[in-house]
């Protein structure tokens, strides 16, 4: 068992420095260097050709849409866009890489030297962006047999090259300092912000569970009050927001224990284990592979014209931090409420629901409770639950008008998500509207009073709070389809 320090003890002695590398898989129709489809989930090795299989003689051709997406991401991160840049080959042998080199960018990234902001608990953190560069994804290996699921010790491996050549943008931060104990949350908030930004740009589906947004987290510690960076580790493939926070937190406690015990942190890549919430040592960077980068001779340099760049600048969405500050002011959420909304990836849907007429609090309530629960159960994003912000607003309007109550609303959600039609149609079809017929209500109230004479006596003698029991009886009688406040009025009228 690896020794770790309590987080608070670690923070009492050390100052964490982060560096985050995020790979975003673009949603271009075709791959980075060939015409093959990028659609997720196809039968293995059905979306391949001579180019992405790296067959002898085949040559890459750059996908212009991927370059456009790279530039838009760079601009949204306040980067400078290179006037001239090249691809480079990163050479290493691995079976899931058909050419045994990856076409990437090295010392000439398309976007560099930018910054962005993340908002956490009402505080804004500025994060420097080192670079955003283009590269191709590798294929996928499935190692069969063996204990670890890794290539070493496996009986055999299966390779699927459908993903080989899918365009990726790698976004690398400058060292993130000064976050103190909030480092894990800042890391998470940064990745959440990138996810929202990239989605707003429309350049990626950013489905972390499908690996279309992947994060490598570099963590180092230095004694409090010092400035020199400590030795860092790089935890690879941390693929959910929660894991980003947990992995950074774990690495801080692990490294703190090593340092506190007089040891030395080894510069290495580490693997994240979702189940145990720990990291284990991978390849040591002290025996680092030499990637022998050199300019890709099969491709010509890319020189985006300034006119094109400024045209693309005009297509950018509102910066995420600015947007958060704006909606936070408009919606009046507490810091905690806002953080939950951001972490749930619900800013977009809430904004759309508010735009469709719902109040911010009701929109937040539905998306973070009813719909979030269904999304979790189905293992999908909020936006993939089969209900639109407009429908959510319609349901709330039915509540506001007294047609249904919150309890009935849950059944309306069920119906809409099950595809039974619009909220109004579901209410009609399932006969969910509250009973507003005074005659029916009166009958039910009279029956409840008659059945509970002792409760009625208490109310008559002034114990108004006892009305709850009678309201409950009426609601039960009417199968919940009544406006509780109107029932209360009727009871008090009779017994007042």
């Amino acid at each position: 068992m690896t020794a770790v320090l309590q987080y608070e003890d670690a923070m009492a002695a050390f100052d964490p420095v982060l560096g985050l590398e995020v790979h975003v898989e673009l949603n271009t129709a075709s791959k980075m260097f060939c015409g093959c489809s990028t659609a997720f989930g196809a039968e293995p090795n059905t979306q391949v050709c001579a180019v992405c299989l790296g067959l002898p003689g085949a040559l890459p051709v750059v996908n212009a849409k991927a370059v456009e997406s790279a530039i838009r991401i760079g601009l949204a991160l306040n980067c400078r866009v290179a006037e001239w840049c090249r691809f480079a080959r990163k050479n290493y042998f691995y079976p899931d890489m058909p050419k045994n080199y990856q076409i990437s960018q090295y010392d000439e990234p398309i976007c560099y030297d930018g910054w962005t902001e993340v908002v956490l608990d009402g505080e804004t953190y500025r994060i420097g962006i080192e670079r955003a560069h283009m590269e191709e994804d590798t294929g996928k290996s499935l190692h069969v047999g063996g204990a670890t699921g890794r290539i070493h010790g496996a009986d055999y491996s299966l390779l699927d090259y459908n993903r080989a050549g899918v365009p990726l943008i790698e976004i690398v931060t400058k060292p993130i300092e000064g976050t103190g104990a909030k480092a894990p949350q800042v890391a998470r908030a940064y990745v959440a912000m990138l996810r929202d930004l990239v989605r707003a740009l429309g350049v990626s589906d950013v489905r972390m569970e499908q690996g279309s947004l992947r994060c490598d987290a570099n963590v180092s510690l230095r004694p409090l009050g010092t400035t020199a960076y400590g030795t860092r580790t790089e935890t690879k493939n941390v693929n959910s927001l929660r894991s980003v926070e947990r992995a950074v937190r774990y690495e801080i406690t692990r490294q703190a224990a090593v340092l506190a015990g007089g040891g030395r942190v080894i510069q290495e890549t580490r693997h994240w284990h979702e189940d145990s919430g720990t990291t284990t040592a991978g390849r040591s960077k002290e025996m680092a592979e030499d990637y022998r980068y050199f300019p890709e001779p099969d491709l010509v340099p890319i020189a985006p014209s300034r006119a094109w760049v400024s045209e693309l600048r005009g297509t950018l969405p509102e910066p995420p931090a600015e947007r958060l500050r704006r909606v936070s002011a408009e919606w009046g959420f507490s810091d905690l409420e806002l953080r939950d909304v951001v972490n749930a990836g619900a800013v977009n849907v809430i904004e759309a629901t508010v735009a469709a007429g719902a109040s911010p609090q009701s929109a937040r309530k539905w998306w973070l409770s009813e719909i979030a629960r269904r999304a979790n159960e189905a293992g999908v994003d909020l936006e993939d639950v089969r209900i639109t912000p407009r429908q959510v607003a319609e349901i709330q309007a039915l509540v506001d008008s007294g047609t249904i109550n919150d309890r009935l609303a849950r059944q309306v959600f069920d119906g809409v998500i099950a595809g039974e039609g619009s909220p109004a149609e579901v209410v009609a079809a399932r006969k969910l509207a509250v009973v507003s017929d005074e005659g029916a209500l009166s009958t039910a109230v009279d029956a409840a009073i008659a059945a509970n004479p002792d409760v009625a006596d208490k109310i008559r003698s002034g114990k108004v709070q006892a009305a709850g029991a009678l309201i409950g009886a009426v609601m039960k009688d009417l199968r919940g389809q009544a406006d509780a406040s109107r029932v209360r009025e009727l009871i008090l009228q009779r017994l007042g």
Partner: protein, 520 residues
């Protein structure tokens, strides 16, 4: 070794020897005209060449693979097209041999290497596609130094090719199979690829014509890469016009090759027909001659300079001082690129797989296969290139070589300010004996001394036969170098030389190739 197939009705059995002997000595231009006019059929012409291959290739070994049935089927289809009056390409029905470095769907493509044995490309190289699209008939794939590394074709994993001028000598390399197939009259046309002289040096030592187009002038798509920034497909032929006609067929922009130039193809055919050098300024490169050049090479070169002057060209001397660094520069850039390009040959997806005993790791199988599948020269260059790109050495080797490459390009730019074309001997020496230099890589590399600068700078360059060296009776080539996209000038000068020399000799130089012993 790939099996060579012949059709059932093989002409060796049907005997039409004399007629066929006449067919195979004709130019591609003449054959095309006769096929188009239906004086000859493509089937007949194809059959004549298949017969010749069957007769002499046992000695020459120009081909690694011949598919006679496929060739004859293609020929029959083209004959039918012509009979139906459908439009066809300018070389319709003419056979062509393709260097085994181009993907040709369904035909084994080995690059002269064991590591690719058994691989059948599922697609056609752009050059191959254009040949087929223009109605040429592909006879088969020609021998080459493994992955185009060599100047003698001795590095082929499938055995050397022999020079038809003297079977004990090399036909040049890496495209020795293509050049030998022309000199042995096994094919009227051939496709080569030129990375440091692999079209021009074999042309020079076999008395044939070979042109390396401007880099980007012909598509590299489907050409198995040796060094991407240097490789260029090009035409090989026995006459300047034939080379130009073939050039016209294969050249032009290809959206599948990012380094392909989107510009009109220079009118090389008109230039080859004209051959007018009146007033053309021809620069003799000081640095490409003198010590280390065979006396016969120097003599034929000087005579050619005088000949060009007599035809109305203006001769000037130009200096390209950085050319002396071309060879070391090339032998850093090429290995660096090839070390990366050849990484894909790892036994995982196609080709040879060695050592997969069920217990070895993927990494071990990769290493064992590469150890077994690559020859010594390939390994030498992969090791050199891996070293040159290594962290800490990159700047000193690869980085520095790229700087010198720029200086060589500037030498060309300056020289082309003083002359319309530059000329030099194509090679310092004539064809050497098979086995003579196999243990001396540096002596082997020396053969490409004159041709390498044009690969580094990317300009057009061709080799043309200018006679036999008096001391050994072997062919000598003259190299014509033109600025990028001025490929037509190469052909103009080549055609002027060819016309004047043919007149002087009273026929083609290749008329003097010794008769190959034809088995009875």
């Amino acid at each position: 070794m790939t099996p060579t197939t012949m059709p059932d009705d093989h002409p060796a059995r049907s005997g039409s020897g004399d007629h066929h002997a006449k067919i195979i000595r004709q130019t591609a231009a003449d054959l095309a005209a006769k096929i188009r006019d239906r004086q000859l059929s493509s089937v007949e012409v194809t059959r004549a060449h298949l017969e010749r291959i069957a007769e002499v290739d046992g000695e020459v070994h120009a081909f690694l693979y011949v598919d006679g049935e496929r060739a004859l089927a293609d020929a029959a289809r083209i004959d039918a097209k012509i009979a139906a009056g459908e439009p066809v390409g300018p070389l319709a029905g003419v056979p062509v041999a393709v260097k085994d470095v181009f993907a040709y769907s369904g035909a084994p493509t080995t690059c002269g290497s064991k590591i690719l044995s058994g691989w059948l490309p599922p697609y056609d190289a752009t050059v191959v596609h254009r040949l087929l699209d223009s109605d040429l008939v592909i006879l088969g794939k020609t021998n080459m130094d493994e992955f185009a590394m060599g100047s003698s074709t001795e590095n082929s994993a499938y055995g050397p090719t022999h020079n038809p001028w003297d079977l004990s000598r090399i036909p040049g390399g890496s495209g020795g199979g293509s050049s030998a197939s022309l000199a042995a009259f096994e094919s009227p046309l051939a496709i080569g690829s030129d990375t440091g002289g692999s079209i021009r040096q074999p042309a020079a030592v076999t008395g044939t014509v070979g042109v390396k187009p401007t880099y980007g002038g012909t598509s590299r798509y489907g050409l198995v890469a040796l060094a991407s920034s240097l490789d260029q497909p090009g035409p090989c032929a026995r006459t300047v016009l034939d080379a130009a006609l073939l050039h016209q067929v294969i050249a032009g922009h290809d959206p599948c090759d990012s380094t392909s130039i989107d510009a009109p193809v220079p009118d090389v055919v008109a230039a080859a027909r004209s051959g007018d050098v009146t007033g053309l300024k021809i620069g003799v490169v000081t640095e490409l001659g003198g010590e280390g050049y065979a006396p016969g090479v120097e003599q034929r070169f000087r005579e050619s300079v005088d000949l060009l002057a007599s035809l109305g060209a203006e001769i000037v001397e130009v200096s390209c001082p950085h050319f002396v660094y071309a060879l070391p520069t090339y032998y850093l850039i090429l290995p660096a690129e090839c070390s990366s390009n050849l990484a894909k040959f790892d036994a995982m997806r196609y080709g040879l797989r060695v050592g997969d005993d069920g217990t070895a790791s993927a990494e071990q199988v990769m290493a064992t296969t590469r150890q077994a599948g690559f020859g010594a020269e390939v390994k030498r260059r992969i090791i050199l290139g891996t070293y040159a790109l290594s962290s800490g050495y990159y700047d000193a080797y690869y980085g520095q070589a790229q700087k010198v490459r720029t200086l060589i390009s500037r030498d060309f730019e300056r020289a082309f300010g003083q002359a319309d074309v530059l000329i030099s001997p194509s090679t310092p020496l004539t064809a050497f004996q098979i086995g003579e230099k196999v243990d001396d890589p540096l002596a082997m590399y020396y053969n490409d001394l004159c041709t390498i600068p044009s690969n580094l700078a990317g300009n057009a360059s061709g080799s043309f036969p200018v006679g036999l060296a008096p001391e050994d009776g072997l062919p000598v080539g003259l190299q014509v170098m033109a600025p990028p996209l001025a490929d037509d000038r190469v052909y103009r000068v080549g055609a002027a030389l060819e016309r004047a020399l043919t007149e002087r000799w009273g026929g083609s130089l290749l008329d003097r190739v010794p008769e190959l012993a034809v088995p009875a």
